[in-house]
Amino acid sequence: MNRFLIALITIYFSCLSNVFAQDVAVVDTEQVKPSSVQNKTKVIDAFKTEQGIASFTQEKHFSFLSTPIKSTGVIKINQGNVLWQVNTPVFSKLLIIDNQVWQQAQIKTQYGIDEIYNKVATHASIETLINTIFTGNIDEEQWDASYKNEHCVALKPKDTVLSKAILTLELCLDEIATIRHVEITDAQKNITKIQLTQTSTTLSENDVNEFIIQ
């Protein structure tokens, strides 16, 4: 019986210590959570990603449509370069390497269908936009950044071409550390909402190879 009691007490204290340990861990997480970030620099810094993978869901709210256009996909970031892959409802792949946008295209060859990347010449500096959204690299030469609240920064484009397309860009941190929210308001007040969920902070060899344009 004593042995049973001793075992019971041991288990109790063991559980108690685990609970304490979890509490301590929660406190540690709280210390780096966005709620503790007090200025825009810290929010901006928290957005910066050098490498990683995230899934995304995107909703485009057009003022002339009753229902939003939804899409989902995966974002991969490697050394400041971005791979933006839409999986549903249609598949498409966009690579932004050194501020140059490349779109994957399928071409028919004598051996079947081959996938190649075509350089995309944009007229709305979307590479600047995509880079900012997905890597968190906010170039203050191109954006006016302002602190909105403890979770969010609001960005306005300085570039005239981009400013004619985008009114504001809002980057927000979530209660959950791996989630970020992006809201883009274009010149016609159409709103695009993107939720990013980080799934990995590292890339496999195959992932890195995807950034190589043949």
Partner: protein, 776 residues
């Protein structure tokens, strides 16, 4: 021959009369149509006015030369744009500048691009969209449409959905008309580029087409240099006028130094030889008159001359002064009271002028303006010198008395030394020896000489200009290459249709990585034929339910407008904001329409040229390669001219001196040329057209020496004149060898070596005992 019997005074009168006529002609020409000096290094060749392709190319090239670029940089955008604003304000006041642009209003935004096609939205299809409709591939069509809808931060769909619900118009516009995307439009409308932690503002100066004229370019650059530069701001610039200004400064400096030094050395030589200030002054006057006649010749035949002609003009000093040497050497033994003191050498002088003038006249057959200008300048200059020597010198001799009791000992010693040297070398078999030398020279030339016809190697621009150009290219990134495709059509629609036929070939060139990209007007303006096809495809696709997925997504029914008679044409579109950006690719000339396809990022120019060579109604223009090919051809033409000159001289010499003397007299300068080419090849690594052109001068001067030796034998007086002539020529051409312009230096070096050899070997003709003339 009548002139020979006239008295010195009458000759003087005739000389004054013809001189006045020429001076009045010059004054008249200078007042009515003054000659312009250009430093346009791109217009090396003679204009082919009968060739419509060439005329169109010239217009395109002229347009390209009117843009001068300034990059004004600072780490802060605001500071850079303020500095740019200040610069633009001052540069706009410069006379000769048509306009200075910093804020580019012509660059259309998305709205103006959409407006550029207002009313024509249902007849425009991108190649991918068209293919998906042709293939009846619903999924592919929907993929293209969804990619547009889903595109981050783009408003094309929002802005065009109402006017074209199929999104084919949005898809058509979903690309940039700009060749590269490094340039960013700032909030206040400046074109800015970030490079290595600095932000640059791009400022473009528009200059008139004649701005490459040396005086205009110099004036504009001088005024630009006066603009106060702000501290801490980086100013980089490039453009044709800066090269023009640089070329004119170099040429001016070289003309002053090389011309001045060679003239000084020549005059010193005259003084040491004749010990008379009057001889020096007379020669100085002869050179001036000769230069004046050269300028008259240029004014008569040309409206514009190249700056390099003025550098080459220095060579006239060396040749014209020879007439003075021959005359003074002769006059020192003639009584001043003699009626025709130059009668002994008159034939030699006339023959000498004829051979030299013929040699230079042959340069005219080469269709290079520069050579024609040099030929005209030299022939007129020499004519002036000849007339002066024959008509003025007797009168001056009568008044100033150039005779002397004894000739300088130096020439006597030289004559003896020269004779001894040749006596040792020359055996009985003179002809076989000379022929063997010529043959060996040519074999060595063929083995050791590499030719280069790259016109870029003819000029040497200052390191500062080179650095500036490299920096501008680095900052601006990818630019259009110099090569382009020129397409011709009888009507605008025929031209657009012709371009459309070429587009698959051009796209294949991108897929094959031959070029990075290209800019073609038909990519933004379809022909009416194509517009009809596009509209028909859209209408049928809609009827066949090809847009059903899109309709379901949007929750509305997609509609397509049927177009029957309202089509977008070049005259409408080229006035739109987008069309204005492409206007430089469209040219109408004498009822024919031309369009230009510009390439950027050319990786393999040979493949590009080969693939485009077989296309109909079009020419691939590669100015540098074309110039290289032409120069190679001209070089061969010049060698043929050289051979003709050789045969002609041999024929004339044979009549007067017999074939053996003629053969030696002509082969000596040929041998000198072949050895000079070999030496030039070893010094320069590669030789060019200017080295070959030097051959004609060697031949001309060499034949002069041969004439004098054949006429007067290996006499002390001839040694004196030929040595003085050789020395003066060497002063001039050796000086040119120091020119910083490689073309001029090549010419100078070859002539220098050739003249030395010709001088040493030309008395060989006196070792042939057969035929007329004197042997010593």
């Amino acid at each position: 021959m009548m002139l020979t019997n006239l008295s010195s005074n009458k000759k003087l009168l005739i000389w004054c009369a013809q001189c006045l006529i020429f001076i009045f002609t010059l004054l008249f020409l200078l007042v009515t149509e003054p000659i312009k000096i250009n430093a346009n290094l791109t217009s090396l060749f003679t204009k082919q006015t009968d060739n419509s392709w060439y005329a169109a190319q010239q217009k395109i090239n002229a347009g390209a030369n009117t843009k001068q670029i300034y990059l004004i940089g600072h780490k802060e955008l605001l500071t850079a744009s303020q500095a740019a604003e200040a610069f633009i304000k001052q540069a706009n006041n410069i006379s000769g500048v048509d306009g200075v642009v910093g804020k580019l209003s012509i660059i259309p935004d998305q709205t103006t691009m959409i407006n550029s096609y207002q009313g024509f939205e249902h007849q425009l299809l991108s190649p991918e969209f068209r293919q998906s409709l042709v293939d009846n591939d619903k999924n592919r069509t929907f993929q293209l449409q969804f990619e547009l809808i889903n595109q981050i931060g783009d408003q094309l769909v929002a802005n065009t959905l109402q006017i074209n619900p199929t999104l084919s118009f949005a898809n058509y516009l979903n690309r940039s008309p700009f060749p590269q995307n490094k340039i960013v439009l700032s909030n206040d409308g400046y074109l800015t580029i970030s490079h290595e932690k600095l932000t640059y503002v791009l400022v473009t100066l528009n200059t008139p087409e004649g701005a490459l004229n040396v005086n205009v370019a110099k004036s504009i650059v001088a005024q630009l240099n006066e603009i106060k530069k702000q501290e801490g701001i980086e100013y980089i610039r490039t453009g044709g006028i800066f090269y023009s200004d640089d070329a004119s400064r170099t040429a001016q400096t070289e003309m002053q130094w090389l011309g001045g030094l060679s003239m000084l050395a020549t005059l010193l030589l005259i003084y040491l030889s004749y010990r008379r200030i009057s001889a020096v002054i007379t020669t100085l006057m002869l050179i001036s008159i000769s230069g004046l006649y050269g300028i008259i010749g240029l004014n008569i035949f040309f409206v514009e001359v190249n700056i390099l002609t003025m550098v080459f003009a220095v060579t006239l000093v060396g040749i014209a002064v020879d007439y003075s040497f021959h005359s003074f050497t002769e006059l020192q033994y003639v009584n001043p009271k003699k009626r025709s003191p130059l009668s002994t050498i008159r034939i030699s002088l006339l023959l000498s002028f004829t051979t030299t003038a013929l040699g230079y006249a042959l340069l005219v057959v080469v269709p290079i303006d520069l050579f024609k200008q040099i030929a005209v300048f030299t022939i007129f200059g020499l004519f002036g010198a000849l007339v002066t020597v024959l008509l003025l010198y007797p009168a001056l001799h009568h008044k100033l008395d150039f005779s002397r009791t004894k000739s300088p000992v130096l020439y006597k010693q030289c004559n003896l030394l020269h004779k001894r040297l040749l006596d040792r070398l020359m055996g009985k078999s003179v002809i076989p020896l000379v022929v063997c030398c010529v043959f060996a020279g040519f074999i060595a030339d063929m083995l050791f000489i590499d030719f280069s016809d790259n016109p870029k190697t003819f000029y040497q621009v200052s390191s500062a200009l080179k650095e500036n150009e490299t920096q501008v290219k680095k900052v601006l990134g990818q630019k259009f290459d110099n090569q382009y495709l020129l397409i011709k059509g009888q009507t605008p629609q025929a031209l657009l249709e012709q371009e459309e036929l070429l587009l698959p070939t051009l796209n294949q060139l991108i897929d094959d990585n031959v070029v990075g990209s290209y800019q073609a007007i038909s990519n933004w303006l379809p022909s009416i034929k194509q517009q009809k096809m596009n509209n028909s495809l859209l209408v049928n696709a809609n009827k066949n339910g090809q847009f059903s997925q899109l309709s379901a997504l949007l929750g509305t029914q997609v509609t397509v407008k049927q177009v029957t008679d309202d089509f977008l044409t070049p005259d409408i579109w080229l006035t739109s904001p987008l069309g204005k950006m492409f206007k430089h690719l469209w040219l109408e000339d004498e009822g024919t329409v031309y369009s230009v396809i510009r390439f950027s990022g050319i990786n393999d120019v040979t493949t590009l040229s080969n693939r485009l060579a077989s296309l109909e109604q079009s020419v691939f223009v590669d100015t540098l390669a074309d110039a290289e090919r032409d120069l190679s051809r001209f070089r061969q033409v010049m060698l043929i001219v050289f051979a003709i000159a050789f045969v002609a001289a041999f024929f004339v010499f044979t009549i007067r001196y017999g074939w053996k003397k003629a053969l030696v007299g002509v082969l000596v300068p040929v041998m000198a040329f072949s050895i000079a080419m070999l030496v030039s090849g070893l010094i320069q690594t590669t030789v060019n057209l200017f080295n070959v052109a030097a051959g004609l001068v060697i031949l001309a001067l060499g034949l002069d020496y041969s004439v004098f030796y054949a006429e007067h034998g290996f006499a002390e007086s001839i040694t004196q004149t030929t040595l003085m002539s050789a020395c003066s020529s060497i002063f001039v051409f050796a000086m040119l060898g120091f020119s910083s312009t490689p073309a001029v230096a090549s010419f100078g070096q070859t002539v220098f070596v050739g003249i030395v050899i010709t001088f040493l070997c030309s008395p060989i003709i006196t070792y042939i005992s057969e035929g007329k003339g004197r042997n010593d």
